[in-house]
């Protein structure tokens, strides 16, 4: 049952605060707002928390249907304690090469890894690239096609904005979304399973 937050007539940031509180209690929230500012900021809040938003414009207000993915964190299943929890499978790529040792080998391996990824099950829900890993999502990345194919199949790709800035690559991002530590941390902590290369 969705919780309804009627934020009509409330000044910012109240709609955001009330929606955030509601999302702590339940996974489905309908926030009703009456202005563009509240719509933009509540939608952004939902995106931050990894929820999906459907916007419905009605005569008496803008209805934002917010649905949060079930996560291990939010919905611990008492009957299955200790078992792998449901929730997004998050793949973490901290480096432009796979494994330690010879860099040339590491570079070949990671290319092979992403090529193979599209052929194995399960597909990760999200892939986070950070540190030198962000060099894999830019224009001349050798695995750009593989990554684009993953995105086309619904895989969400997040690249660390600070890291892109550090390597001077922000202008060259070719696939996925530039993200921040808030989202990255929340994605990892809210994951059902995190696999790090």
């Amino acid at each position: 049952m969705a919780k309804i937050v009627d934020a009509r007539g409330l000044a910012c940031p109240q709609p955001v605060i009330l929606t955030r509180d509601a999302l702590k209690e339940t996974r489905e929230v309908i926030t009703i707002v009456d202005n563009e500012t509240a719509r933009a900021n509540v939608t952004r809040l939902a995106e931050q928390t990894g929820a999906t938003v459907k916007v419905e414009q009605k005569e008496d207000g803008i209805y934002l249907h917010i649905t949060k993915e079930p996560t291990a964190h939010a919905e611990p299943s008492p009957s299955a304690a200790g078992a792998p929890a449901g929730g997004p499978l998050v793949l973490v790529i901290p480096s432009e090469i796979m494994g330690r040792g010879d860099e040339e080998l590491g570079s070949i391996l990671i290319r092979g890894f992403f090529h193979t990824l599209g052929e194995v099950e399960p597909l990760p829900d999200k892939i986070i690239f950070f540190n030198s890993g962000v060099k894999l999502v830019i224009e001349n990345s050798p695995m750009l096609e593989d990554l684009q194919a993953l995105v086309a199949r619904g895989v969400e790709i997040l690249a660390c904005g600070t890291c892109l800035g550090h390597y001077g690559l922000t202008e060259q991002v070719a696939v996925g979304e530039v993200s921040n530590m808030y989202t990255i941390a929340e994605t990892m902590l809210g994951a059902g399973r995190v696999v790090s290369l």
Partner: protein, 319 residues
């Protein structure tokens, strides 16, 4: 301004140096070759709980326009509205906060006017002076100049978070002190050397006021996000989306003129559109002047940050 321009024609008022056609932070009127008068007013509803601090902030904010024009404060009048049943002690504290701030500025409050109103309002009508050849307008920035900012950003979002009971009192305290700080020393440091343009950062946010400077100067202003100073807590509250409605209004008004680097997220972009109160001066000056300016700031205990530069073109860029 448009109705004013229909009634008052600039050509009829040759001594009005800044006002109608070239609106700026304040009006400037030439008295003789050595003295021009700066006239400005500002008032607003309470933004902090402490009445003394509110009075001081409202006064510092009103006088800031004089400093943004490069002037000194001479004379001020109170403008106030208080509920009929408001506690006298609170009113006295507000007025004392304003008066002590004007005294600190070197000026005097010589009267004023108060009316009854449901919501308290306080501010000043201020008169300042400046040499007619040393007026700091928004329109003088030139390609090659560098941009300096004399207070950190973020008081707008911190006070909004405070009103929503979501702010750390330590953050509110820093923001309050910053809003109470006069731009007097920054203006004095600026007048000690060469400068091309100045404005103060208030309700239209850093980017709104910077855009006015860019537009009036016929140049492009470029900021480096990582060089912009923020009060503690500001970025945190931005991540929590505790923005006042004014942030999105400024964004809607100015975003068409602003280009952001793609890695700057929605929250950080919106933070730069968030209204400030009693913010610092944004000054454009030739690069050779920076060392002297920073030295004069340091002598006065005034902080300043190098935040960007001016290039050929139009609008604003945030990298």
């Amino acid at each position: 301004m448009r109705p004013l321009k229909e009634i008052f024609h600039e050509a009829d008022y040759p001594d009005l140096l800044v006002g109608l056609e070239v609106a700026d932070d304040a009006a400037v009127y030439r008295i003789n070759d050595d003295v021009a008068v700066i006239q400005t007013t500002d008032f607003f509803t309470p933004i902090v709980d402490d009445p003394y601090a509110y009075g001081a902030i409202a006064a510092a904010n009103a006088m800031s326009d004089v400093y943004a024009m490069g002037g000194q404060v001479v004379l001020a009048l109170n403008i106030a509205a208080f509920p009929a049943d408001m506690d006298e002690a609170i009113i006295r504290a507000i007025l004392r906060g304003g008066a002590e701030k004007v005294k600190e500025a070197g000026g005097v409050i010589a009267g004023g006017h108060t009316i009854d109103d449901e919501e308290p309002k306080y501010g000043l009508a201020v008169m300042g002076i400046v040499h007619p050849d040393r007026i700091a307008t928004k329109g003088g920035a030139r390609p090659g100049d560098v941009l300096l900012l004399t207070k950190p950003l973020g008081v707008g979002i911190i006070t909004t978070a405070f009103k929503a009971d979501a702010a750390d009192p330590a953050h509110v305290e820093v923001a309050t002190q910053s809003m109470m700080q006069l731009n007097k020393r920054a203006a004095e440091a600026m007048q000690g050397g060469e400068f091309h343009a100045a404005t103060d950062i208030t309700g239209f946010s850093l980017l709104g006021h910077a855009y006015e400077m860019a537009e009036k100067s016929g140049a492009r202003l470029r900021f480096r996000f990582d060089d912009l100073p923020f009060h503690p807590g500001a970025k945190e509250y931005a991540e929590l989306l505790l923005f006042p409605g004014g942030a999105n209004r400024n964004k809607a008004a100015y975003e068409q003129h602003v280009h952001f680097a793609p890695y700057l997220e929605y929250e950080m972009q919106l933070l730069l559109f968030t209204p400030e109160t009693s913010g610092g001066l944004l000054i454009a000056m030739p690069p050779g002047e920076v060392e002297g300016f920073l030295a004069r700031c340091a002598e006065r205990g005034q902080k300043a940050w190098l935040v960007g530069d001016v290039v050929e073109g139009a609008g604003i860029e945030v990298l």
